[in-house]
């Protein structure tokens, strides 16, 4: 409680409302760092190809098995204000580059741990922050110096050899991202798939044009890529099976209209005076729907999709005219189809302009995938799109596969946009660490020690890689340090987890886009600096909490803004 006592006889002056938690000073920084370390410890074991997964059951009973840093942190429901910053860092890395979320959290955590000793020794946080920032800048420069530019591969003529080499380069980057995931064993399949999916897109590389569909059952190796749009068969009425299931060069019409025999207005009531009128009312209703259906049939459409329901009458009408229809198509799929076939979604059928409303593609087909049926539009002329159909044993497996594939897609996209690579496996971190350590010797004052600490913090990545693989981390690190320090050519020396020794990670094709690393370093440095610059936390008493602050974690968290629960479209996770 923040109450000050100016004199012994005076009543304490209450500045803060009762129930507000307050702590400050160096002790506060240290306790914030401690909190962050707890979060980092959770993630540490997920790093690298030998990293493990976490099984988390949310309060809603859903079970997630994941290796993805951002996903795990989101599900952990972190409520500590300082530790929450780390969650945000991971999320921003996830949104920015899609991969390297664990790395960024680990780095930030280690930077803070190194800072703790300095804070305890009375170094002013600001000194730390200044040097950390400088070190971060230097590291970013060094990455730019050493990164390998592969842009040449793309631009140097379109000879077959360079094209193939470019393809391989992209696949290697995607494989690196998949290394730590559950589907690592099939990384060649998925890396190839990710590259092909991204490369079918046009120059903008809009990843929302890549649909990922999950179908339970089958083996993971049965997953496949369709160069087009696909979605699961929607609910259908009797008559559906009599519709055509494969149409070449179909004309596609997209609707946002209900095609059902129904009352036009909810609260309307018709008063019928005589029995003759009766039939006319009935006919009028039928005519309304038949007019709509006739308009569609007259436009020459062969495939009709609607966001709203298509009833049994319409289904049978279409079946009679060899038109395929699907009602209640999910919104995201509808938009993908609209873009791909170049059709506009119609909201009315009056004055329908057939040439403008209809889209087309090379082939429409209904295909059986496992126990499900899918509708595929392939060879779309307007926007290039791709659909990956994932197969696998269980729901959790499929979800994790989807997340992993998403990471790979992001990496491929990044690599195409910024074609510069570094080697992973801790190699780039060791190189930066060596560079900063050498640089630190030229500094005077406390900066020297702090920059050395930053250099040490970078080693946490190869260290975690070794620890997770059950290797002797200290021994491997010592060897790596020596190699980097003595041999100029050992630039890309990192941990080789197959042999448990050091090795050239560039030669082993552990490649990552330089941008991922640069972004990770910048984000981690920034997060560490923010946490270090906080020396006072005020936590307002939450409304539901009746003052029982001690164990009231549940109630206390109820009022926290649920930033962690925010969802990103297109990724479909919970």
């Amino acid at each position: 409680m923040a109450s000050h006592r100016p004199g012994a006889m005076q009543v304490p002056v209450i500045i803060l409302k009762e129930g507000t938690e307050d702590s400050q000073g160096a002790g506060q920084i240290i306790s914030n760092i401690n909190a962050c370390e707890v979060v980092v410890d959770v993630l540490r074991t997920t790093l690298g190809p030998r990293g493990m997964d976490k099984l988390i059951r949310g309060s809603d009973g859903r079970v997630t098995i994941s290796n993805d840093g951002a996903t795990i942190l989101r599900l952990l429901n972190v409520v500590h204000p300082a530790a929450k910053l780390l969650v945000e860092v991971a999320r921003s890395q996830d949104e920015e580059v899609g991969d390297g979320t664990t790395t960024v959290v680990l780095l930030a955590g280690e930077l803070l741990r190194q800072a703790k000793a300095f804070i305890e020794d009375g170094v002013h946080p600001h000194t730390l922050i200044r040097t950390y920032r400088a070190a971060g800048r230097l590291a970013a420069q060094r990455i730019q110096q050493v990164q390998v530019d592969v842009a040449a591969l793309r631009t140097v003529g379109d000879t077959e050899a360079t094209a193939a080499e470019y393809q391989r380069t992209l696949e290697r980057c995607a494989s690196t991202a998949l290394n730590s995931k559950l589907i690592a064993r099939h990384k060649h399949l998925f890396a190839g798939m990710a590259v092909e999916a991204v490369r079918t897109l046009d120059a903008e590389l809009d990843l929302s044009m890549v649909g990922i569909k999950k179908v339970g059952g089958g083996s993971i190796t049965d997953s496949f890529l369709v160069p087009g749009v696909g979605f699961k068969k929607t609910f259908s009425y009797a008559g559906f099976e009599q519709q055509p299931k494969k149409i070449l060069d179909p004309k596609v019409m997209l609707l946002n209209i209900e095609l059902e025999l129904k009352s036009e207005k909810e609260n309307a009531e018709v008063r019928i005076a005589s029995t003759d009128e009766y039939q006319r009312v009935v006919d009028a209703e039928w005519n309304i729907i038949y007019e709509k259906l006739d308009a569609i049939a007259a436009s020459g459409a062969q495939v009709v999709l609607s966001r709203l329901a298509i009833g049994d009458l319409a289904t049978q009408y279409f079946a009679d005219r060899h038109i395929f229809c699907a009602g209640r198509v999910p919104d995201a799929d509808m938009q993908r189809v609209a873009k791909a076939v170049g059709a506009a979604v119609q909201t009315t059928l009056t004055q329908l302009q057939a040439d403008k409303a209809l889209g087309t593609c090379a082939c429409f087909e209904e295909r059986q995938v496992g126990a499900e049926r899918f509708n595929f539009f392939t060879g779309c002329p307007h926007a290039r799109s791709a659909t990956v159909v994932l197969r696998g044993g269980s729901e959790q497996f499929l979800e994790e596969a989807e997340r992993s594939l998403h990471d790979a897609l992001m990496i491929v996209r990044r690599t195409i946009k910024f074609p510069a690579l570094v080697a992973g496996g801790g190699a780039i971190e060791m190189e930066l660490s060596r560079y900063l350590r050498e640089h630190s010797r030229r500094l005077q004052g406390a900066g020297q020690l702090i920059m050395a600490a930053y250099a040490r913090a970078l080693e946490t990545i190869p260290r975690a890689l070794c620890e997770n693989a059950g290797l002797d981390a200290t021994d491997v690190l010592n060897r790596l340090r020596a190699q980097h320090a003595t041999d100029e050519r050992a630039l890309w020396c990192g941990v080789d987890l197959e042999t448990g020794d050091t090795g050239d990670c560039w030669a082993a094709h552990v490649w990552e886009p330089a941008l991922v690393r640069r972004n990770a370093l910048a984000a981690a440095t920034e997060a560490a600096c923010v946490i270090l610059s906080v020396d006072e936390t005020l936590k307002a008493e939450t409304n539901e909490n009746g003052g029982g602050g001690g164990g009231g974690g549940m109630a206390g968290a109820g009022g926290m803004p649920r930033t962690a629960g925010r969802r990103r479209p297109g990724r479909g996770r919970m």
Partner: protein, 540 residues
Amino acid sequence: MSLVFDELGRPFIIFKDQDKQQRIRGLAAVRANVAACTAVSRALRSSLGPTGADKLLQSPDGDITISNDGATILREMNVDNEVAKLMVELARSQDDEIGDGTTGVVVLAGALLEQAGRLIDLGMHPARVSDGFDRACELCVERLQQLGVPLERVADAVQPEWVRAAATALSSKVVSRHSQRLAEMCVRAVEAVADWERRDVNLDLIRVEGKPGGRLEDTMLVEGIVIDKDMSHPQMPAEVRDARICILTAPFEPPKPKTKHKLEIESVEQYRAMQQAERDYFTAMVERVKASGANLAICQWGFDDEANSLLYQNGLCAVRWVGGVEIELIAIATGGRIVPRFEEITAEKLGRADRVRQVSLGTTHDKVIVIEGCPNSKAVTIVVRGGNKMVVEEAKRSLHDALCVVRNLIRNNRIVYGGGSTEMACSRVVHEAADSCVGIEQYAMRAFAEALDAIPLALAENSGLPAIETVARIKAAQTESGNTCLGVDCLARGTDDMREQSVYETVHSKQQQVMLATQLAKMILKIDDVLLPNDLSNGM
């Protein structure tokens, strides 16, 4: 959950509800998960094979299921443990894709995890175990491909070899006594609907209807459609030859506007007029049906007695309250069109069938309508009879398995021999490969080989044979003679050669089992941290 204290010694909360969460991490988590999964697989172990026992399961609302089918048992078991639930999904996934071998896949996955647990206790990193399993899995899949024997289609009507494969699937079920007859039925059913061009079978076209009563021997295959309905009027003829069927989704009653409406009647004349109009509707409808040349009306909705007797007087047969799915099936099979309004009935829209008859089953007044000789005879129905509901249900599930086996044969006609013979053959290959493997993965590969032996071991155990002796003897015989067809003689037929016993399983199913089980084992071994909110009932 670890607690952290701030400078004043107050604990602070980092994760939401952290004091209410259960958390197991590290190797303890791996061990707990392995234990949960092995418990599930142990429950199923005794159901494996022709001599496996059935389980009786009672659902919360008192329904009783007796089953031998792995996927069904697990589904009814209401497994609560999160990791064990993955086993349930594993069985379901095998069921969805292959249909058969659900018990086997669970037993195999359990055995793999048990072996992995042993290695982890010895200090091996779970990821290394996974790597070894992966390698072994690849070897197995390859070996299965080599062992596969193609079953060629013979020109004969019923494929005797295929019947044997279907019979193998049925041999472990309650219907095993009639496996030969039922297997033949399954092969005929699948052949009738198979799409040879795509080498696929749409199993939706095979309806399996259950009718308690009668004996299992009374189970019959109808090359056509069976609907669980009767003629709307008892005096209508029970058999219509050369049927022209009018398929209606409109009811035999005056059409109703969908908008809310009110008819106001102020005088007796008006009332009479309304009554007359109603009657006219009926006559007009019946006339329309008759005019089109139809002699049978199949209607999705009902119609009242007045319409009914009018239909009868006009010599039309009618069936009412037929479900949407059946309507569609009838339309496809008879080549008819579904008619939504009486105004639209035309002769071209009628469906055709050689014979439509009403069949009574047993002494009860249960009647079904059988539509046979349809021009697009792409639909068949198997009517399952049996002593009680539970037997019928289990028989239906068993038939589904057998149908799936035949379908898989159409997709991929390679088979291997059952009785655990392939598992032992694979186990031998993996064992050999382990010896030439550098690195500690060889231990995981050996463990994989041991796990494969779990299948023949369970078979022998369930048959009351001395398990270890039997498996050891057969394995030795396999190595000595190189005959990979030697398996466990569960039914005491006097020979270990599964080729002579004609115990067939599809290669596809076996490969899928190995791959799915390995995938699941890997997934579970990769988890080192389990975070669960405490039981909600005492947590809140």
